[in-house]
């Protein structure tokens, strides 16, 4: 469990984090989103004990980050948005250094390097120097450095920037793989469509304040469905409320409705049957195209 409580961080003349409080469950993948300057990087750096806030507490696995920063460093991996790699070392030497610096025994380093390289598909680049690699490959090396010691919490600041679509897909697969191994991930990104593929929760920051914490996984268990009728039906909302197991979100002009259903296909079939049994002129019944981006934009618009 990760807990951030009443965190305040200030730069001269600017409150970058204003009373930020939230909780993250073990094994979750949380998207940290918000406009530029919202305080995402500052929050990640505070959680990595790289910055000292004015007040507040951060607890990671019962370690008070601000009191015991070195203990926290052993259980976290951090990928900075402007990460640096040792240009004069080979990829193998970079990874060996980080593995050793994170306390992995010298004899265990080759296995740790091989495992992380296999996972990030960079086994054939081990003897190259970072300067000889593409932006995407350098990003993968940096991620490898962040996770080589198998931290329980991984903080990633814009991990997908500069990656091609295929590499982004691989990155999503990697995050899900890390989650399956019990790691907790907090990923800051602007590319919401890509976050949707793997994140379970979303934190929305704006002007240093936590606007909303959304549980995406729960939302996925309950899908919004769009119901479109061939012609308007009077009191559509009242009619739909008669059908069990659905939650009416909204209706428009007695012709269009947005309803919430479970992800169970049998139940979806039963609802469609019930709609037809009510003699409703159904011409469209399909999952609504709602995604993280919609949720984010809705939150940002609703809560200035």
């Amino acid at each position: 469990m990760i807990t951030v409580d009443k965190l305040i961080f200030e730069y001269p003349g600017l409150r970058a984090l204003d009373n930020v409080s939230f909780r993250m469950d073990q094994g979750s993948i949380t998207a940290l989103v918000g406009p530029n300057g919202a305080g995402k990087t500052t929050l990640l750096r505070c959680m990595a004990a790289l910055e000292r806030p004015v007040s507040g507490t951060i607890t990671i696995e019962e370690i008070d980050v601000l009191e015991q920063p070195r203990d926290c460093h052993r259980i976290i991996g951090y990928l900075s948005d402007f990460f640096g790699l040792y240009q004069r070392l080979t990829v193998r030497q970079c990874l060996h250094f980080v593995a050793r610096a994170q306390g992995i025994d010298d004899s265990d380093c080759p296995a740790a390097i091989a495992a992380v390289c296999r996972r990030l598909n960079i086994e054939d680049r081990l003897e190259m120097r970072p300067g000889e690699l593409s932006r995407g490959l350098r990003q993968r090396v940096a991620i490898a450095q962040a996770i080589i010691h198998k931290p329980s919490l991984v903080l990633l600041d814009e991990p997908a920037s500069g990656l091609d679509p295929e590499a982004r897909h691989e990155l999503a697969e990697l995050f899900l793989d890390l989650q399956r191994q019990g790691m907790t991930l907090l990923v800051s990104s602007h590319i919401l469509a890509e976050l949707e593929a793997y994140c379970t929760d979303m934190l929305v920051l704006r002007n240093g304040r936590l606007v909303e914490q959304i549980t995406v996984k729960k939302a996925r268990q309950h899908k919004p469905f769009k119901l479109l009728l061939a012609q308007p039906v009077q009191n559509l909302a009242e009619i739909l409320k008669q059908i069990p197991d659905i939650e009416l979100l909204k209706t428009e002009h007695d012709q269009l409705a947005l309803i919430q259903l479970t992800a169970d296909t049998q139940q979806q079939h039963a609802v469609l049957k019930a709609l037809l049994a009510l003699n409703l002129p159904v011409c469209e019944f399909a999952p609504a195209a709602s995604n993280l981006q919609d949720a984010y934009l809705q939150t940002i618009r609703q809560r200035p």
Partner: protein, 430 residues
């Protein structure tokens, strides 16, 4: 083998095959040339060349390497990776200090070997090696310290830091070559008096050098501790201030007044040094006040700026000196010494520097403060003095006032005005 990973990384970087072969080759060419100058033997010219090269390599190259071992990390954005590692501060300090300078020591060792083969009298050799190695370690360790300070201030250019290392080199090199010119028979049997105890001068120098090395290492440890995010109180600075007061006080003529005068001078100097070397962050004072309001004294003390400590130590010294009889009063009637006024002037100067630090161009704070100093200490009181307005001159330079009370009032007015301005700027910054 579980070698210190940072030291191993430095080995990867420094110990390339090209360097391992290239350094002896280049030195070989130079010493072959000096061998010809000496008339086909290893003689005086070779010994001199070897010693100069040893100094150049271990002091200058070593200092540059030590500075870069930390500033380069910051510049290349790899410093966060190191800060997040499981390495302790001491492991990090020694690995950077000895790892980055490994090749300088390799070349220096070759020079010393040649020097040893070129001299006839070996009596002074152990002392020369001791001074040479300790002086190089001191300059390299001092350079690492400067590098760490630069990183804490967000400075990524190592040129100005290296300049300070060069000054260190220039102050040590002549002294070292003097030692090398002495033979065991010619060594002067001089003594040094410290608190009326007479020590052999060479033994005293050696102990002083080792103490300087010790404090440099402690300083590096403390700064690295801060960089790694560990919480620590500025007790090292307090200890260093007290040590320096006692050390310098030992050289003064034996009297209570002399001791307090030394303490006053040391604390004044350390206050200036402390305010300049540390990063003056407005938010730090806000954190400090927040902790004090919460009665969290431990956390509050961790945020204390080091110059505050030297300034606090300065106060008792100033009070004691103020109530003591000034022994130099009879020598010159024009010379006034008002310790409490000096304390306030010092506070004014620190206030001016921090005022500029809280401004939009904190990197220009030092030059702007120096400019203010020229105006306040020289030009303005000089103009009024030339006009015969001594009262007005004393307003800017209170030591020209005719009475301690007048000097104190002038200094109080200035420091109060500067502190008021500083407070307003601090409020605007936070």
């Amino acid at each position: 083998m579980n070698l210190n990973p940072e030291f191993q990384r430095q080995l990867y970087l420094e110990c390339s095959q090209a360097r391992l072969i290239g350094i002896p080759l280049v030195l070989g060419v130079i010493f072959t040339f000096s061998y010809f100058i000496d008339g086909y033997r290893l003689g005086g010219a070779t010994a001199k060349a070897a010693l100069i090269l040893f100094l150049l390599i271990t002091l200058l190259w070593g200092a540059r390497q030590a500075v870069d071992s930390i500033v380069e990390e910051y510049r290349d954005r790899t410093w966060d990776t190191q800060r997040l590692s499981a390495l302790g501060p001491w492991e990090m300090v020694w690995a950077k200090l000895f790892g980055s300078t490994l090749m300088a020591w390799y070349a220096g060792l070759l020079c010393l070997l040649v020097y040893g083969s070129a001299i006839d009298d070996y009596a002074a050799l152990p002392m020369l090696i001791f001074y040479g190695v300790c002086a190089a370690l001191l300059v390299q360790s001092g350079s690492l310290l400067l590098g760490l300070l630069a990183v804490r201030r967000g400075q990524t250019k190592s040129g100005s830091i290296f300049l300070l290392a060069v000054i260190g080199f220039l102050s040590i090199a002549p002294w070292l070559s003097e030692v090398s010119s002495l033979t065991a028979y010619a060594l002067p049997d001089s003594t040094t008096a410290w608190y009326e105890i007479r020590f052999s001068s060479s033994a005293f120098h050696q102990i002083s050098l080792l103490l300087a090395l010790f404090w440099c290492a402690v300083g590096n440890y403390r700064l690295m501790t801060l960089e790694l995010g560990m919480r620590t109180t500025p007790s090292v600075w307090l200890g260093f201030s007290v040590f320096l007061m006692i050390y310098v006080g030992g050289f003064m003529p034996s009297s209570a007044y002399s001791f307090w005068l030394a303490a006053f001078a040391v604390c004044s100097a350390l206050t200036y040094v402390g305010v300049v070397v540390e990063s003056n962050d407005a938010m730090r004072i806000k954190r400090l006040l927040t902790y004090f309001v919460q009665r969290n004294w431990r956390r509050g003390s961790e945020e204390l700026p080091i110059w505050w400590l030297s300034f606090l130590l300065l106060l008792p010294a100033a009070l004691v000196l103020s109530v003591s009889v000034h022994p130099l009063r009879e020598f010159s009637l024009r010379f006034h010494f008002y310790p409490l006024a000096i304390v306030l002037i010092l506070l004014r100067d620190c206030g001016i520097y921090i005022y500029f630090c809280y401004g939009k161009n904190p990197q220009r704070a030092l030059s702007l403060t120096l400019l203010s100093g020229v105006l306040l200490y020289g030009i303005l009181p000089g103009i009024f003095n030339a006009m015969g307005q001594n009262g007005l001159a004393a307003l800017f330079f209170p030591l020209w006032a005719d009475s301690a009370g007048g000097a104190l009032l002038c200094a109080l007015a200035q420091s109060g005005w500067v502190m008021g301005m500083l407070y307003r700027r601090w409020q605007a910054s936070t």
